[in-house]
Amino acid sequence: METLELTQEEQFQARIDADVRIEPKDWMPDAYRKTLIRQISQHAHSELVGMLPEGNWITRAPSLKRKSILLAKVQDEAGHGLYLYSAAETLGASRDQMLADLHSGKAKYSSIFNYPTLSWADMGCVGWLVDGAAILNQVPLCRTSYGPYARAMVRVCKEESFHQRQGFEIMQTLCEGSPEQKAMAQEGLNRWWWPTLMMFGPKDSESPNTAQSMNWRIKRFTNDELRQKFVDMMVPQAEFLGLTVPDPNLKWNEAKQGYDFGDVDWEEFWNVVKGNGMCNKERLQARVQAHEEGAWVREAALAHAEKRKQREAVAA
């Protein structure tokens, strides 16, 4: 028994090493399955909760065009949530259970959405910075070892790059606008810069899951590698916009051909993870409330479908 199990595991790892995609019906180690369910459902929850901070500005968008783009973007996020819940379902997780875990606080979602959106510039910052960071995290996932997840991510990434462009365009319009608008953009960057750097997760030295996830090719870059990449990508964009990145230690390092930058406030990071961010309570409450207030609607839909089925059975 023991040897057979080992062989299966070895075969599995050999497929991973050869970059062969794992599909729903393939044998997989329990821990691989659990890790993926955790990661994919967290990702789906992040899409769902991520609708709220931007949804906060749909009714106040400053022009009909912006309103339309923002609404379409938030709608895309709902769509991403759907693809991802479906991908997790292929691993045997049920949507009801995943949602129950979100609502009970057992399952996590991206901490970035626990920050409030306070001005129109935040719609720019969320698109430009938050979606920018999400893309860096997600592009490697298009090649992740689990097939349904990788395929869902190909679709997600296509739409995310459109989201990032619209965010940058909001920032650009603000920066080319009145002094008031430029100040709004800078104030937004000041608030969003550090939380965005936190999106890549804890330092490699403190990220317990990284090694195993890299080995399974669920993850392809470490947190610190991606964070460095993000800073190197964003600093020139901020300069182009004429904005100042709020980090006094930011400095080009010729030798490493990248920027040196200050340390993230890890105390704040862990605080928000633990539920003490500005909006943790509101975000979760909004989801729970939508779910509870929607219960009678879901029941009605089921009851009606059942009645219809019975009537058709009688008629047949």
């Binding site: 949804g55 009714t59 106040r60 609404l71 759907l82 929607g294 609607v297 029941e299 009605a300």
Partner: protein, 268 residues
């Protein structure tokens, strides 16, 4: 002076004819109606009862928003005073808004949103069918595009009325209550305002009697399947199309227009 028939039918840069210019208040009314309903639906975004329905409502909101923008752009052209779609949407007060009362009513629970949507869809779909073969080419073109979307909307809201009416006891109670509250706003849709009467007399706006019959027939069919009763003898409220609104519109516009009012004259 050239008569209308000798003018090129769709010269985009040409100034609107006098006949067309009369349509301005009507096109503006259609624009306001689509925008206000889109705004209400967009308030659901992220809070829907089922993820799939969250998506559906955002989708319908986007359709109405797109339709509103087409009407506003055309209205701006008809007015010819250099106002833009955003000027018309963001810089007019509640008393200048011309939407019927129904669409400004708050979302309430899902049943209220569905009933509001269903009543408006019944009118909207049948109106667009008429406008798409109407005398004004631009309005016909907008209607042609929008009627495809409206056909989906009326299917979606009809199906939900049926599910809620013929679902559980609770859903039935809620949908009946929503009908009880909203029915009084249904009559205004097909009761022509003075402006509409004049345009109807000129043959520019379709007759509402036929639309009212088509609406009633569709509602009767759906309510029957939903095992719901069509209310009778309800006193009908009106005034929205003349700028006399319920108290809800002011708050909606305060939110909608917040940025443009706080930072006048800027590009976003």
């Amino acid at each position: 002076m050239m008569t209308d028939s000798t003018m090129p039918a769709q010269a985009p840069a040409a100034a609107p004819s006098e006949t067309q210019a009369q349509l301005f208040p009507f096109v503006l009314q259609l624009a306001d109606t689509s925008l206000i309903l889109a705004h209400r639906l967009s308030e659901w975004c992220g809070h829907g009862p089922i993820l799939e329905q969250d998506l559906a409502m955002a989708n319908i909101a986007l359709d109405f928003l797109g339709e509103a923008r087409s009407y506003y752009q055309y209205a701006a052209e008809l007015e010819g005073k250099g106002r833009t779609e955003d000027d018309l949407a963001y810089l007019r007060s509640a008393v200048e808004y011309r939407n019927p009362l129904l669409v400004e009513q708050p979302n309430g629970d899902f049943a209220v949103t569905i009933v509001r949507q269903f009543i408006y869809d019944c009118f909207h779909y049948h109106l667009l069918l008429q406008l798409k073969s109407g005398p004004d080419a631009q309005l016909a073109a907008i209607a042609e595009k929008s009627v495809k979307e409206a056909a989906y909307h009326i299917k979606w809201s009809s199906e939900w009325v049926i599910r809620l009416g013929d679902g559980t006891e609770e859903s039935r109670r809620r949908v009946e209550k929503a009908i009880g509250n909203l029915w009084r706003y249904s009559g205004e849709l097909t009761t022509p305002s003075a402006t509409e009467q004049a345009l109807q007399a000129a043959g520019l706006v379709p007759d509402y009697a036929a639309i009212q019959q088509q609406m009633a027939a569709h509602i009767a069919r759906v309510f029957e399947e939903a095992t719901l009763a069509v209310p009778e003898g309800v006193f009908m409220q009106k005034g929205g199309k003349d700028g006399r609104h319920t108290e809800h519109l002011g708050y909606l516009l305060a939110e909608l227009q917040y940025m443009q009012r706080t930072y006048p004259g800027l590009e976003w």
